[in-house]
Symmetry: C2
Subunit: 244 residues, 2 copies
């Protein structure tokens, strides 16, 4: 398992993410949480509250990646359609579940459990629940797809109940070498050379600009720490030769 | 043109967006800039520095949407492959262009224009340049696809040179009604009713939680301001009946 590459796809659901109303932060949260587990995100899609598009993205990502995470669309209102989309993606039935109602009863009085709130207990057949310690309405896992809340604090609260369900792979480590006062273009040729000379290390180069400083962060990523260390030394040598 | 729906797809390119290293902000910037032009984003994809995936996303979005925006991957280093991917997506050649070299010469001395930096002047055949007043290396437009920088300040700097190239549609307006102290589940049934009663208005419901307050923002969006105003009144009535 330690040398296996394990991948994930992320589907961020909600019109508000595409209209500019809401800045997504869930993708970065999930990526950083997955990193120590040895899982890398291969692609993310931000999709509207549209049943056909959501179902088709879920189906495709479920085939393509080891794990899939969806965020958003599991609340009580008419635009919360994710559970139905997951069921339809896999041709499963969906119905109100007693264990999900129990979770809601930790928060709501029986008299508050109206039709809308009961919708949050509709779970695709065969899914297992994901505990929500923040607002109780559960997420759920269907095959390799984890369906999480969209509100960032609630989404984060669900991650601990998933961690033990993930079979991670080889962890990816990264080293960053920051070089002030040099340009990307000065380093480009040597950068490609360093990447070529260090097996399975990928090197990214990220310029920064602010009022006081311009420079570049060179980030080497790879699974073998010894090779990565050698790449880091090569990057540092390059930067000092360039006068950075 | 005023009643037409005009759509856009956005492709955010870069390993750093998927590894959790970098929080994207370009999507929200583009969405907010498009709103007054009457263009709505239909889907966004965040993809790795992978030529096949980038090309196929570009091809697909170019067919599917009126306009496509890509960000990232147009710098001088080996991981900057977007220009080649755009060319290959449309079966176009790509070569160094004199007008793009001219743009680079506004920033660099001839002696600084090494092979790496000259790569930033490689433009797909037939594309028109997009001016970059921040760091000079141009973006470009190929058919309905606008290829922009990934660094947010540079990306923003390119937008003014695109605005006149967009034929917008009917502007979408939005009204937000904030209700403190009520839950989404209390409003859900009436919300669906209000949406049904107001033609072409879509209503989203976004709960918020903080130390002092919980509540919901109800956002009505639509193209007809009179209908939208009626929906807003209905939302306010609903909230006051619910005691919010």
């Amino acid at each position: 398992m330690q040398n296996k590459t394990v991948s994930a796809g992320v589907i961020l659901i909600g019109d508000e993410l595409l209209s500019g109303r809401t800045q997504d932060t869930n993708l970065v949260t999930i990526a950083r949480w997955l990193e120590p587990l040895g899982v890398q995100i291969g692609e993310a899609r931000i999709v509207a509250d549209d049943a056909k598009i959501i179902s088709s993205a879920v189906r495709r990502f479920s085939d393509q990646f080891d794990y899939v995470f969806t965020t958003g669309g599991i609340g009580p209102t008419h635009d919360d359609i994710t559970a139905d989309c997951i069921a339809s993606a896999f041709g499963l039935g969906i119905s109100e579940r007693a264990d999900a109602i129990d979770a809601l009863l930790e928060r709501y009085e029986v008299s508050e459990l109206n039709t809308a709130r009961r919708r949050m207990a509709r779970i695709p057949d065969g899914a297992s629940l994901i505990k929500n310690p923040v607002s109780q309405a559960p997420g759920f896992q269907t095959k390799n797809v984890f369906t999480l809340a969209g509100v960032p604090s609630i989404m984060r609260g669900m991650l601990p109940d998933i961690e033990h369900r993930i079979e991670g792979g080889a962890k990816v480590f990264s080293r960053t070498v920051t070089a002030a006062g040099i340009g990307e273009g000065d380093a480009a040729a040597q950068l490609a050379e360093i990447e070529k000379n260090h097996v399975d290390v990928s090197i990214g180069s990220y310029p920064f600009f602010n009022a006081e400083l311009r420079g570049v962060n060179f980030v080497a990523r790879g699974r073998d720490e010894a090779v990565l260390e050698a790449a880091e030394r090569a990057l540092k040598d390059m930067v000092s030769h360039l006068g950075g």
